[in-house]
């Protein structure tokens, strides 16, 4: 498993996507799957930045990304110490009502097989787990 910790800043959102992309490339994950995962990571980390850390770029605000690829399954873990996620508030909206915003969680749900926040006790406030199977 590869992991890297990032300062939660708007500029680092791209660097987190790039880190995950590089790790998936090292593991020969197909490019179309990498593109989908980049969307997922982009939305998940933007949510951490916006709703977890409330766009506060204090140096203590960190995002830890861990990437694991085993037997054609990608597993990504994102950790943060922002506001605790209220899972009941994470609901994809009805896309037939075209309006700006709130489609990020729809993208995540559409592009991975599994996503949930761990209830296990850890040093971090939030631990998001994302899983996706692929055919190599």
């Amino acid at each position: 498993m590869s992991s890297k910790e990032f300062h939660s800043t708007i500029k680092n959102l791209k660097h987190i996507r790039q880190f995950v992309e590089q790790e998936l490339l090292k593991n020969s994950v197909p490019q179309n799957i990498i593109n989908e995962i980049k969307i997922v990571i982009g939305e998940a980390t933007a949510n951490i930045y916006k709703y977890g850390y409330l766009k506060d770029e204090d140096v203590k605000n960190k995002i830890l990304a861990k990437v694991l690829v085993v037997n054609d399954e990608i597993e990504i873990h994102l950790f943060d110490n922002g506001v605790k996620v209220d899972k009941s508030m994470v609901k994809p909206r009805d896309l037939s009502d075209v309006k700006p915003g709130k489609i990020g969680s729809y993208f995540i749900g559409k592009l991975v097989d599994y996503f949930d926040w761990s209830d296990k006790k850890s040093d971090w406030v939030n631990h998001l787990i994302l899983k996706k199977k692929f055919k190599s």
Binding site: K99, P100, F107
Partner: protein
């Protein structure tokens, strides 16, 4: 940061490039808004966009809504594969006027 602009046949074309994400979607929204204030037709050339997230999609939706309110034309031209797949996933590929 602003994207390059040029005018063709009375249409202002904004050439969007790179990643359109939370870092720069506000810039895109503002640039299109100003362009719609000053022109009757605005198109976004999105052929060089490598990545777009939901904040970028929101900027596109708001731009189209502003154009409609002002009776202006707003089009997306030559969207890259990344843009096309995200618009399709968001079921917005028929919401926008798209020219390939």
């Amino acid at each position: 940061m602003s994207y390059p602009e040029n005018t063709e046949n009375d249409t202002l074309i904004i050439s969007v490039n790179g990643d359109v994400d939370l870092e720069n979607s506000d810039n895109l929204r503002e640039q299109v808004s100003k362009a719609l204030d000053a022109n009757t037709a605005v198109s976004l050339n999105m052929s060089e966009v490598s990545y777009i997230d939901s904040s970028g999609v929101a900027a596109l939706i708001e731009s189209k809504q502003k154009a409609e309110e002002g009776g202006k034309d707003f089009k997306i031209i030559k969207p890259s594969e990344s843009v096309t797949s995200v618009l399709q996933m968001a079921k917005l590929d028929t919401f926008f006027i798209i020219e390939n």
